[in-house]
Amino acid sequence: MSAETLETTTGPPDHERRTSPDEESAPADRGARGWLARKSVSRETVAMLVVPPVLVALAFIGFLVWRQTAELDSVEANQLKWSTLSRLLVDHLQLTVVAAVIVVAVSLPLGIALTRGRVKRAAPLVVGIANAGQAAPSVGLIVLLFLWLGGGFWTAIIGLSLYGILPVLRNTITGIQAVDPTLVEAARGVGMTSTETLRKIELPLAVPVIMAGIRTSLVLIAGTASLACFIDAGGLGEVLQTGISLFRFSLMITGALLIALLALLIEWIGRLLELAYRPKGV
């Protein structure tokens, strides 16, 4: 799966795609139970599904132990109160989920539209613009939106959504374009309308690529959400920001660790979704 991430984040030239490894070629892991076993899954994919959550859990337990035993001064204790941390965590999750939903709701239909009929010709242009937009640094985008619209949740959401659109949009377009044209022709030949062809042939076949894009997007959004604290939209970045401005190592490490663990967890959920939505036989 991992080679997919790169492709989705970069828009690789053809020679990169040509040599990308066949991830499904490894034999299915017989040890995996239930629905995992029924989908042909490489051992590496299984490892990426099992190892990260275990590591995240271990790191989090380590943090809990430290948090309960460490001697904190009043500033640290105040920032590391459980109520504060859980509020910031909820902020962070809200930012991520809302932005991700908007991204999917916008870029999926847009991507599909850009593979239909006459609009098709605009696809390279739109992807080009989105690509160039991605070159803008995330901090810059967020700060500019802040200066323009003021702070708060929805400004952060606009920034995060704009930033997350590209991977889903590009993968939707490439996923549908990569469907074997003879299959589409065969579907039309047996009498399917173009909508039916899209719904029953093209989309199911493109789902793995689209889901990889959604996962990339989720990770980008969750990471960028750590900058939301700078524009009064909360999130776990606040702990880290406070830590840096007061130069308290305990706060810096806590903030950084929690942001990183959450990002890893979200990536893991992305992988699960990817597997769950993969149609049989693909």
Partner: protein, 214 residues
Amino acid sequence: MDDFIAERRRQIAFDMLQHANLVFQCVLVATIVAIALAVLINRFKVLEPVANAVSAVGLTLPSFALVGLLLPLSGLGTTTAFLCVVFYAVLPVLRNAVVGLAGVDQTLLESARGMGMGPVGVLLKVQIPLAWPVILAGVRTSMQMSMGIAAIAAYVLGPGLGSYIWTGLVQTGGANALNYAVVGTVGIVIVALVADLLLLALGRLTISKGVRVA
């Protein structure tokens, strides 16, 4: 805006160069490290899943979090920015270098050895030139990513244009806030585009004619 830029022309040009300089150095170091690692991985295939997992996890790690983790170790300033950017810059190059080296046809390696080339000769004259287009694609990704990460690293006083964005944020409400943020953001986009063009040109110059796609 015009006045803002005119007054600070020298300073802005200097910071653009600083930004480009930081990213170039980091990407250069990262490319060397990544190719060396990829050669190792290509020799000991067991390492490949490990490398894949490490780069997947690494790319998931938000850069702001890594800045926070590095800060206690390397303090405010350029060192933290450098380490942070290098860390992320290694990952795309590593992944592409592994894929590129694995994609070199075994029969070619055998004929190279048959012609009497030593392992170093095979590596430098056959494997790396053949994998170079793929590696270079990774370097381009790396360069693009590093531009934005360097901007975030400016929060802990790293060099470059990122500081303009953070100044804009701090001066919110002030007369120059927007100017600072725009100059920082647009400046980075310009530096990124120029760097990308330079890498394309580098590709034209260094990709062997036999494997050139276009």
